[in-house]
């Protein structure tokens, strides 16, 4: 475990996000207060349209809140300009999406390097690190040169994982990372996420899938833009998976899921 600089890596105060569609205001996040402790694997669940993705984007500094503060690693990012936010994300946030969103015009290695070179580290070291991570997620050297259209969905999501951690971000944000994968591929990706977590990474993951959700040690339930309730599960282990599933099911039932 790394030395903990902050007790809470992300803190929100009165976080509000609303969209105006055709002049009508839609309040998606309502006065949301949330602390995410350094070292946690946080899972966000909730019904479709409850604002999970919106919350994730706001926390990661991809979107600016309508009202309220977000303090990320001691920085009040809710006050940052778009470009400052972009620079902030370089070394603080990693992203995994349901659709991997790789650039189709670049080889997978270049996709990873395009992110890695932003860290400011020596390029040689970035390349070495990329190779290590590729090795870790099980992508062999021959595949570095392939283009995204020439790879399978599972492989692509693992490339996405490498891209997410290449800059050694403080937090990895994942929006339904397994949503488009079959169960074997899902398990592989989730195992990797647990591995990263054990090695000290913070993870915030949005998911619909209970099997994914049990991987976290804290599950938040979002409804109507506020956190309705939450449950803490302790560290994940293959052996305690079944028991965690039971506990989570009970919790979700209570939430009316």
């Amino acid at each position: 475990m790394e030395n903990k600089e902050f007790e809470n890596i992300i803190v929100t105060e009165g976080l509000c996000k609303s969209f105006s569609v055709g002049g009508v205001q839609q309040h998606v996040l309502n006065n949301l207060d949330l602390q995410i402790a350094d070292g946690d694997f946080t899972v966000i669940m909730g019904n479709s349209g409850s604002g999970k993705s919106t919350l994730l984007y706001a926390l990661s500094g991809m979107d600016k809140p309508t009202l309220g503060n977000i303090v990320f690693a001691g920085e009040k990012i809710s006050e940052y300009s778009n470009d400052r936010l972009a620079k902030f994300r370089r070394n603080n946030c990693g992203f995994i999406f349901q659709e991997v969103f790789l650039n189709d015009n670049m080889s997978v290695m270049d996709n990873v390097l395009a992110s890695g070179y932003l860290s400011g580290l020596a390029r040689k070291d970035v390349y070495k690190k990329a190779c290590e991570y590729f090795d870790l997620v099980g992508i062999p050297c021959e595949m570095y040169k392939k283009f995204p259209s020439q790879m399978s969905g599972g492989e692509l999501q693992r490339v996405g994982l490498v891209r997410a951690i290449i800059n050694n971000p403080k937090v990895i944000f994942a929006d339904e990372p397994t949503g488009a994968l079959n169960s074997a591929n899902s398990i592989a990706v989730l195992d990797l996420m647990n591995k990263f977590h054990r090695e000290g990474k913070n993870i915030v993951m949005v998911t619909h899938d209970i099997k994914s959700a049990v991987r976290g040690n804290r599950v938040l339930y979002l409804k109507d833009g506020v956190i309705l309730n939450e449950i803490t599960l302790g560290e994940y282990d293959k052996d305690n998976e079944k028991q965690r599933l039971e506990t989570l099911k009970v919790f979700l039932d209570e939430m009316g899921w």
């Binding site: 919106t54 991809m62 972009a86 370089r90 992203f95 969103f101 015009n105 670049m106 290695m109 270049d110």
Partner: protein, 822 residues
């Protein structure tokens, strides 16, 4: 299928706008350019009707309706191709230097002083004259009215004051207007004057032998076609000279030594044609070239739009194929879109071409000061050519660009891709690049979008090539005219000074003693003669020496070193089958050269784009060759050190001291440049400015529009990728840099190749083109500074425009875009 059209339309809006604009431009230029070029055959016929100018003017040096002219008119009337013939009196006044100095003269008094030694007066108010010219640019002023040919406007203006001095009296008048007479436009001695003035000179002619009445027989032929008319002019002119020879021969037989020999000569439109047609043709040809280039750009743009649409719509196209649509049906849908767009734009182009034609022709007319340009009308054939060109270009391009539709299978729809495995190669791996990340990503987008890159390079290349070409031409026409002067076979001294004194030597000596004086020699000793005993006429110029000439005439062979050596206009040499080393005899005119016969060896070629000179040789023994009266007032060319060239006032001051005079009686005072003005250089200069400005503007507009289209399209197609970049931490300026770098790289490649090639091919290309229009060997100076300027400025422009167009990157919000499902 409608959905493909709709989506193509949505993504290509800017592209369609540009394509449309270019189609309009191309059609318009083609119509105007072709109308000009195709109209040349009849332009002089129309110009003649616009100006009432004769096709042929025969000068007979006898009183009105004298025996020779009567015989000539009946000879003319025997022809079956005569439209109209009429004779008109003219008063011919010699203005010799007489004892009281400056007794009788005619001076145009603005700018460069020109005093005429002889002048032909024609009566503008003669209502019987069937060839009474139409007057343009009419102004009113004080004194008698005099009308000049358009050539006068090159150095003078309408409204200039004019002084006629006769028997101690000064008569003041003004240039009241311009008449266009194609047989007289390049001659400076025929002036129409108002009736009162004409009658006064006519009265004087009764008592003064230096004023004689002569006549001009003017002829119109029926031929509308220029070539046929020209043939008739020459044939009829020569036949009439035979009539004159026969008449004189008869007189000699009848009266022996007492016979009264009557002189005769003729002017046709050939000189005017030589001097104007190549200029108009070049303009027309330039417009056609421009039209074709714009059509090529249209082709590139459409090709690109269609190809990228096919790539983007693979899924939809696949679905259509699955539903049973055939390849041809899908390809035709693309053709349909462009047919509609270009159809509409062609109609706009045609309307614009037709409505702008007169305006355009007026601009040429003003620029060229050639009133006959107004005679150029719309050519209906040109409309069809323009339409055919665009239809051909568009259908060919759409068919080529949609060839990929064949490879789309229903399976493509599922995979959203073509059935290829290796169509992408990673030419610029990030790991190997030493450049900054954003530049590297810019370079990557150059190599990964080959279609787009090739198009940008080609367009930039074409435009910078043209710019480079135009700037070389501009430089040589406007900034450093050495090459043109060399081609015009016109020497360019500091001054040409003629004085009207009985003995001008002390005055010339005074100039020679001025600071910075280098040399001087007789100027413009033009002489004509027959080659051997043939009746082939050769005219040219004598020089006292060749070693001080500023103009480098000879481009093949060498200058004459001995009295029997001659250099010759290469075009003329070719026409007469002469080569360097050949020799021939010239029998000179008995009036100007005392009937000298000389044998010459050809030692070099020069060229004379305005066809004013066939040969150049030494002026051998002046006293023998030139009549004494000519020598008295003969102007001299003066050469000074470059930084010590005196002004008109300084020279006048020095001359005044010679005999303590109030006024110096100049016969001529011209700068070398003003003399070149007579060679239409001013005209070319004005055109050069306009053409250069238009070209730079058009280049900037075309390149900018292209970038606007490409970058808009790119932002649309790649907004997802840019959203990801942003999520990963790329800022808006980072992404703008990537876009600009890609475009600048293409711009640098294109402008570097285009700029250099354009500069290098200018002279060879002009030489090739010139051989069609009669100009010869071009050796233009390449202004490398300009070329470098083009090579630097185009990428700079591209950088600026790209950055501006990429500003909307700011609006790409990752959170919003990534939410959109693929």
């Amino acid at each position: 299928m409608w959905s493909i059209i709709k989506s193509h339309f949505h993504k290509g809006k800017t592209g369609f706008f540009i394509t449309g604009l270019f189609v309009v431009l191309s059609v318009m230029m083609m119509i105007i350019g072709l109308s000009i070029c195709l109209g040349m055959g009849g332009v002089y016929y129309n110009a003649r009707n616009l100006s009432n100018s004769p096709d042929l003017a025969v000068f007979v040096y006898e009183e009105l309706n004298g025996p020779l002219s009567t015989r000539m008119i009946s000879a003319i009337n025997e022809r079956d191709d005569i439209d109209c013939v009429d004779s008109q009196p003219m008063l011919w006044q010699e203005m010799p230097v007489n004892d009281n100095n400056y007794q009788c003269t005619f001076i145009f008094s603005e700018g460069n002083t020109m005093s005429l030694k002889r002048i032909g007066f024609l009566n503008i108010d003669d209502q019987n004259n069937k060839f009474k010219p139409y007057i343009r640019n009419q102004v009113s002023g004080e004194g008698f009215k005099i009308y000049v040919t358009g050539n006068y406007l090159i150095t003078g203006h309408v409204g200039d004051k004019v002084m006629y001095r006769y028997n101690g009296e000064n008569y003041w008048g003004y240039v009241a207007g311009v008449y266009d007479d194609m047989t007289k436009i390049y001659s400076e001695v025929y002036y129409y004057v108002e009736n009162d003035f004409y009658q006064m000179v006519s009265r004087n002619s009764k008592t003064d032998e230096s004023i004689v009445e002569e006549q001009i027989i003017n002829v119109h032929f029926t031929y509308q076609d220029d070539a046929e008319n020209a043939k008739a002019q020459l044939e009829c002119g020569k036949a009439l000279m035979n009539v004159a020879n026969e008449y004189n021969y008869e007189q000699v037989l009848l009266y022996g030594d007492d016979a009264k020999i009557i002189g005769a000569g003729y002017n046709d439109r050939q000189t005017f044609k030589d001097a104007t047609s190549s200029f108009i043709l070049i303009l027309g040809a330039a417009m056609i070239t421009f039209s074709v280039i714009v059509a090529v750009i249209v082709a590139l743009v459409i090709g690109f739009l269609v190809r990228s649409s096919v790539m983007d719509e693979v899924r939809n196209l696949g679905v259509f194929k699955a539903l049973g649509y055939t390849t041809d049906m899908l390809r035709l849908s693309y053709l349909a879109i462009y047919s509609v767009i270009s159809g509409i734009c062609m109609i706009i182009g045609i309307i614009l071409g037709i409505t702008l034609m007169p305006t355009f022709v007026n601009i040429i007319t003003d620029m060229a000061r050639l009133e006959c340009c107004k005679a150029i009308g719309l050519n209906v054939g040109s409309v069809f050519v323009a339409i055919a060109l665009i239809i051909a270009v568009i259908s060919a391009v759409v068919m080529l660009a949609t060839s990929r539709v064949k490879r789309v299978t229903p399976l493509s729809a599922m995979r959203n891709n073509f059935e290829t495995h290796s169509f992408k190669r990673n030419l610029v791996p990030l790991a190997k690049s030493k450049l900054p990340v954003n530049s590297t990503l810019g370079v990557k987008s150059v190599t990964s979008e080959v279609n787009r890159s090739v198009m940008v390079v080609i367009v930039v290349l074409i435009m910078s090539l043209l710019c480079s070409f135009v700037s070389v031409v501009f430089y040589n026409l406007k900034v450093d005219q050495t090459a043109i002067i060399n081609m015009a076979a016109t020497e360019n001294p500091d001054y040409i000074i003629g004085l009207r004194y009985e003995d001008s030597d002390p005055y010339f000596e005074a100039i020679r003693s001025m600071d910075g004086y280098q040399a001087d020699m007789l100027a413009e000793v033009y002489c004509g003669g027959y080659i051997g005993d043939s009746d082939d006429w050769i005219r040219g110029e004598f020089f006292e020496r060749f070693d001080i000439l500023r103009t480098d005439f000879v481009y093949k062979g060498r200058y004459p070193k001995h009295k029997n050596e001659i250099i010759i206009n290469e075009k003329f040499a070719k026409q007469n089958g002469f080569e360097i080393g050949d020799s021939f005899t010239v029998s000179f005119d008995e009036f100007t050269m005392n009937a000298v016969k000389n044998e010459y060896v050809i030692v070099g070629y020069f060229q004379s784009i305005f066809e004013n000179c066939h040969y150049m040789a030494f002026l051998d023994n002046i006293i023998d060759m030139l009549p004494a009266e000519e020598l008295k007032t003969a102007p001299r060319m003066f050469y000074f050190d470059k930084d010590k060239v005196p002004t008109y006032d300084q020279i006048t001051q020095v001359l005044k001291k010679v005999n303590n005079e109030e006024n110096i009686h100049y016969g001529a005072f011209l700068t070398g440049k003003a003399r070149l003005g007579n060679m239409i250089l001013n005209v070319v200069e004005t055109a050069a400015d306009a053409v250069m400005t238009v070209f730079i503007a058009v280049t900037a507009i075309i390149i900018s529009l292209l970038l606007v289209m490409l970058i808009k399209l790119k932002l649309l197609r790649e907004r997802r990728n840019y959203a990801i970049y942003k999520a990963l931490g790329y800022t808006t300026p980072n992404i703008m840099t990537q876009i600009a770098v890609a475009m600048v790289i293409l711009g640098v490649i294109g402008s570097l190749i285009g700029g250099i090639v354009g500069a290098l091919i200018t002279s060879p290309m002009l030489t090739a083109m010139g051989s069609f229009i009669g100009a010869g060997h071009f050796a233009f100076i390449i202004p490398w500074g300009y070329v470098v300027g083009i090579i630097v400025c185009i990428p700079l422009l591209i950088y600026l425009v790209s950055m501006l167009c990429a500003i909307p990157v700011r609006k790409i919000a990752p959170a919003t875009l990534l939410r959109e499902r693929g």
